[in-house]
Amino acid sequence: MTTMTSRMPIAHALNLGLRHAMEADEKVMLIGEDIGQLGGVFRVTDGLQKTFGDHRVVDSPLGEAGIVGSAIGLAMAGYRPVCEIQFDGFVFPAMNQIITQLAKYRHRSEGAVTLPVVIRIPVGGGIGAIEHHSESPEAYFAHTAGLKVVSPSNPQDAYDMMKLAIRSNDPVIFLEPKRNYWLKGDVSTSTTTPSDLDRAVTVRKGTDLTLVTYGALVPVAMKAADVCQEEGRNIDVIDLRSLSPIDDKAVVASVQRTGRLVVAHEASRSVGLGAELAARVQDEAFYSLISPVIRVTGYDTPYPASRLEEEWLPGLDRILDGIDRSFTY
């Protein structure tokens, strides 16, 4: 495959990642609701059934337990299925298959059976959707041993991480921040240096405070860092990329330099990724901390009706407020 670089939105980068993975390995196949002719409700699989046929791009009956359960069987038979769950709020009928079967089979078979299943889920809010279409379920998955959980924030990562997830011999929950599907960026299809699937990346260097986030909030965090820059504060921004395993070394190393940590996520606060990072950082960098770890998150409530989501979601202002609280502690 020749290398090319072009500008495209995340949805197209995911599509290209799927396409290249399917070209490279004929065992890769896709299963999901409305992913064939329709190309998925977000068009991520657009055109793939046309190219690869309906044996490799399967329009499933309407059942998520069926999608994931049959993907497990396909994986046992040597395939590499990529499941699409239509919306975050509809993954729950598949939770039994994901948690009791998919996550545990390698362990139970003492390594004899690997289940290279990828489960793609559009996640998060910000699109003014009706209920069940704006969930942030990452902590459920990150809490489950045996699953990898990743979330790309930009087109290049979307492309690279899709290919890496499909190649992974562990099941991967692949969370796609839906409000940024049409966010554009350069994508190089170079296969020589794809970043690792489970590495965090420092997307902006700074010395005064560490701001950690992932997915949809990465561009917001970058904006927050811009605003801080004008006030003379240099923010180190880390895109976590992998939520399980967590690349805590990158976070700890940064906090050892800055002494301050703010974690931002859309998901509700309690028992979330922010809590986990706070625990690890106090464990590894206790004496470096100048102020307590601040969490800027969704609240511990159901996702609100869409007319309230803008104020409910941790946006630029709330992240800046969190940063202020850290500096003024």
């Binding site: 509809f90 009706i130 069940h132 609240y299």
Partner: protein, 360 residues
């Protein structure tokens, strides 16, 4: 197995009785059926227009499904209870839910919209199939209350639950069928087979008809012409009567067609042809009832005028009511998350209120 949908009012608008499904046209107020079908269409048409004007985020249209919904709803007694999907605007209308309240969920001002206990009409369920099990549980409750099979016409009640053809594939729906059959519950499953689940034609879900599936679970399946309001009413009446009398569940398949895209966000040109749609438009349920009413002389200038006036008033009510739907307060996401606000949530609520106040 003869799988022809039972039809009483054919596409040409003439009534023929069927030995399979006894029905007398004078057993119901036909003009009321017609009125309600037109009002349901008005709600649908206005909601689509409101969505186009940016007043609603999304709207799932029920165009073409008026006979199925109004027929089924007219078989209900006030004390029966309904579990809808998200497309039962016509049933909601018949149950007395203010149609403006249907808009809130799609305008993003609420996650519900009405008090489900007021009209025995539950909240819309967006998660496919989930409501089928709630219906089963409710039916278990009715049974334990002793409100089934007493023979007292003022006491016996039943549950009517709606589902789509796609919903048949969910595991939960299948569990609901199993439970209803095993426990012989007073529940009627009303499936509007509109032949599409977003882009998936019915053949993606099943090789047999919806009605045929009931047999395997051990209860009765009935297949009716879903664009025939008499057949839908008659089948639901019979099934609800059986349920109330303690004779167990029924699965009704109303064979119809989703004439609009799945929702206003969908692009059905990607997966189906206009010709198919045209063929079903020619079978319009309202047109055929109108023809019937005209031929039987039940329609006259006065009631036509009356219905048209009511339609206009309803449209105006929707337009002004939609824009006047209140945006919930800043504290509302925190309220009713629990019976009593936990300390941590109260802290978060106060933090939030301070933050929005400072921003204002």
């Amino acid at each position: 197995m003869n799988d022809e949908p039972i039809s009483l009012l054919n596409a040409g608008g003439s009534f023929t009785s069927s030995p399979e499904l006894p029905f007398e046209t004078d057993s119901t107020d036909v003009l009321a059926l017609y009125n309600d079908m037109l009002m349901a269409r008005t709600v649908d048409t206005e909601a689509i227009a409101l969505q186009r004007q940016g007043e609603l985020g999304l709207w799932p249209s029920m165009l073409g499904q008026e006979a199925a919904q109004i027929g089924a709803a007219h078989a209900l007694l006030p004390r029966d209870i309904v579990f809808p999907t998200y497309r039962e605007h016509g049933v909601a209308w018949c149950r007395g839910v203010d149609p403006v309240d249907l808009l809130g969920l799609f305008r993003g001002t609420t996650l519900g919209g009405w008090n489900p206990t007021e009209n025995n009409f539950n909240l819309y369920t967006l998660v496919i199939g989930a409501q089928t099990l709630h219906a089963v549980g409710y039916a278990m409750g009715i049974l334990r209350d002793g409100d089934v099979g007493t023979g007292d016409p003022d006491r016996d009640r039943a549950v009517l639950v709606f589902l789509g053809d796609g919903a048949l594939s969910e595991g939960e729906t299948n569990e609901a069928f199993v439970w209803a059959a095993a426990q012989h519950l007073p529940v009627v499953f009303f499936c509007q087979n509109n032949q599409w689940a977003i882009s998936a034609p019915y053949s993606v879900q099943s090789r047999v008809s919806v009605a045929q599936r009931a047999q395997g679970y051990g209860f009765k399946g009935v297949r009716v012409d879903g664009n025939d309001v008499f057949a839908c009413l008659a089948a639901t009446r019979e099934a609800l009567a059986a349920a109330r009398a303690g004779q167990g569940p029924t699965l009704i398949e109303a064979l119809t067609y989703r004439r609009n895209p799945h929702t206003t966000s969908d692009d059905d040109g990607r997966y189906r042809t206009l010709a198919e749609n045209d063929a079903w438009a020619a079978l319009d349920p309202i047109d055929r009832l109108r023809t019937y009413l005209q031929s039987t002389g039940l329609l006259n200038d006065a009631n036509v005028e009356d219905i048209s006036r009511r339609g206009k008033a309803l449209a105006e009510h929707l337009r002004s009511g939609c824009r006047a739907l209140p945006v919930p307060g800043h504290a509302s996401p925190f309220q009713n998350t629990y019976a009593e606000l936990p300390d941590e949530l109260e802290r978060q609520m106060n933090e939030h209120l301070e933050f929005v106040e400072a921003a204002e």
